[in-house]
Amino acid sequence: MTTIRVGAAPETYSGKGLYFSGESAEATRAELAVDEAAGTLAMRLPDGTRIDWALASLRRVRDQAGGDLMVLRQADDPVARLVLSATEDQRILLARAPNLHRAPKVDGKRKLFAWAGAAVASVALMIFVLIPLLANNLAAVLPPAGERALGQTTFEQIRTALDDSGLQPVPVCENPEGLAALDKIGETLFPDEVEGFDLTVSVLDHEMVNAFALPGGYVVFFRGLLEAAESPDEVAAVYAHEVGHVVARDPARIALRSAGSIGVLGLLLGDFAGGAVVLFLAERIIQADYSQEAEAAADAFAFDVMNAAGRPASAMADFFDRLRAEYGDEPAIVQHFLAHPAMIDRIEAARAAQPADLDPAPLLSDAEWAALRDVCSD
């Protein structure tokens, strides 16, 4: 075993290295010694020049392959290098140079933080200001055919994104009697055509308790919502509310906004999570993160429609009260409403204002209601 002597008489150390000045490609043989008094590694070149590197300033170039060479540099000199090939020399320097394994100083940290700030600001500006602004204005001038195509595309994306099995999109329920019952609700609520829109109402075979609207007149219920509802009027109230969003073109705004955001977020997350971004945004569309004003307008629309059709607007209040009691605050649709407590107050108000003698005939017959709730079985 080799003993490395420190302290007394270390000047006996002498080694050899290859010195590169960083000015020319010349490899210069250097005789090495440790100058104990000055605390330096002294390199003597063939032409007689002596170069001193402070032991404390020595850094080893890291992550080197082969394990045979030790490449040394000074902390504050970016170009000059000393290459040691003898194991003995390497061992002695490992013992004598105290900061060999420290990383060389990184400069320009302030610049880095400035760019990091700029990057965060520009992404935030895009996602929270520019894209919504642009999307809102563009949604207003999107022609009906284009809006329908946008809705169709988004619908397919959502069906794919919600699928757990990874095999096929979430199926659309097609039981004809159930769909006929759904149509009957639609005809009761909207005896005349909804102006400018060709409504397409579908049910997705998924247990989520929710419903959402898409651009171009698509209204989509989840099976879970139909199963959680206890009367056709509750389904009708949700139906009217979603049509309220369609008429206000809220979904077109959200869909355009997400088309812009996908690019920006995908850029940030890199190849790490391409699919997750789409999933996340699809989720956002379903959760329908509309503004408070948009929700209020959709609600007002729904109350008007329910009243005009002679149906109890309070059905919505009943439905949400029960969902909260039954599931807690967890279902997405409840969360959605919890975000706007004022709306619940308004629903309460609507319930109070509703004529006490309103006792309409059932919206659907028992058979129709059963068929609607069974729309996902063939």
Binding site: Q64, V71, A135, A145, R148
Partner: protein, 405 residues
């Protein structure tokens, strides 16, 4: 040239840095790239002296941030407008996607050139910097035109394009005071490209024939002969592609001339196609099987737990149903964690084994079969100025077209 560097050390370095990248949600990848490049560069020893990679992780991070600032605008606003135009004029998203894709292509070439410039600007040999002269937009425009021509001629122009673009890059490459220049012409690539064409013909002709036979356009009597043709055609195509790649590099490297103070260096490359075919085939088999290990481990573990808890595996609809396996010897959340490990472990293993069984052997073969000629003049080479490069390889990183390493 020598190669010094073992699979084992590379494996641990790639595994460690890859795991950190996953744990930091991708943030560590700038450090990972830097450290792997340091390793690869230092394994390459022209004339016995290692190359050094001096790029910094922090400058890569900053370059990425700069690219984000610029691209956030482009990707956000331009995509949104393209989608709008596409939906309002054509009522379909296809044109919007296509246009936004086409819009990125020039940027893609630009980013590739800039990334190469950055990497070479941070590469040194004998303490002297390499460098690439400016020209990214010129490169992008030429690449666009060449690719268009190549597609129009069904690939026949590919050797011409390859030569022209490589010449553009090499003619702008320097090492200290030494200027590189690509000599020769596209003619030296065509003999090797011919094998790609033969393989392509032998593969496509029977396929087209088979499609015709199935659709009733031709009689199916020659099916056996067609099958034989395919049996020859596919290996020939693979061989042709590898040969065109490897031999193309060889003849191009041998035609490089150098000038300037200390010039006179030349290359004598002798890589072998057969060896490269073996590396590629065995390497792909190795990484495929290696990446399956985490999946296998998990499958066995979860199978054992399900069997032990006497549960019906059919009730597991989604991974989160594992949480219900509470009464078994292993809690459900631990199984879910194991599933996560298997998922990321598979990706990690794949990328680590790609380094160990493909990137490294390929690079090593090129290095070991390359001889530097006229290296006795290199002492006269003098340093060039540092190429400050604020955006590093940020665009390539953001657009996901980074270098192989």
């Amino acid at each position: 040239m020598f190669w010094r560097g073992q699979r084992g050390t590379l494996f641990w370095l790639a595994l460690k840095t890859g795991a950190l990248t996953i744990l930091t949600l991708g943030f560590y990848r700038f450090w990972m790239k830097t450290r792997l490049r340091r390793w690869y560069w230092s394994a390459i020893r022209p004339d016995g002296l290692p190359l050094e990679y001096v790029g910094q992780p922090v400058e890569k991070l900053m370059g990425f941030l700069i690219a984000v600032v610029v691209l956030a605008f482009y990707l956000g606003v331009v995509n949104l407008i393209l989608m709008f135009v596409s939906f309002s004029l054509l009522a379909a998203p296809g044109a919007g996607y296509a246009l936004s894709f086409v819009g990125v292509i020039p940027l893609w070439f630009y980013a590739r050139y800039r990334a190469r410039r950055y990497v070479l600007a941070r590469t040194r040999w004998r303490g002297i910097r390499f460098g690439v002269l400016a020209g990214a937009w010129g490169y992008a425009m030429r690449a666009l035109v060449w690719w268009l021509g190549t597609i129009v001629t069904l690939g026949l122009l590919h050797p011409k394009m390859r030569f022209a673009l490589e010449k553009f890059r090499i003619d702008r490459t320097v090492w200290g005071s030494v200027q590189l220049e690509q000599g020769g012409s596209a003619r030296m690539l065509y003999p090797h490209f011919a094998h790609v064409m033969i393989g392509l013909f032998l593969t496509l002709a029977p396929l087209i024939d088979a499609v015709n036979a199935v659709s009733g356009l031709a009689d199916a009597s020659g099916t056996g002969r067609l099958f034989l043709m395919l049996l020859v055609g596919v290996p020939w195509l693979i061989y042709g592609l590898v040969r065109y790649d490897v031999m193309g590099r060889k003849v191009m490297a041998n035609a490089i001339r150098t000038s300037g103070a200390g010039g006179g260096i030349g290359f004598d490359a002798a890589p072998r196609t057969a060896r490269m075919v073996r590396i590629v085939v065995l390497g792909n088999i190795a990484r495929l099987f290696g990446a399956m290990i985490p999946v296998l481990v998990f499958t066995i573990a979860i199978g054992a737990v399900i069997a032990a808890s006497g549960m019906d595996a059919g009730v597991l609809d989604s991974p989160f149903d594992l949480l219900m396996l509470g009464n078994g010897p292993v809690p459900g959340w631990a199984l879910l964690g194991l599933l996560g490990l298997a998922y990321f472990g598979t990706f990690l293993m794949w990328s680590v084994l790609t380094h160990v069984f493909l990137t490294m052997p390929v690079l090593r073969h090129y290095v070991e079969t390359l001889t530097l000629t006229g290296a006795d003049t290199v002492g006269a080479v003098v340093q060039r100025d540092r190429d400050e490069f604020a955006e590093a390889e940020g665009f390539a990183e953001a657009l996901d077209v980074g270098a192989a390493i």
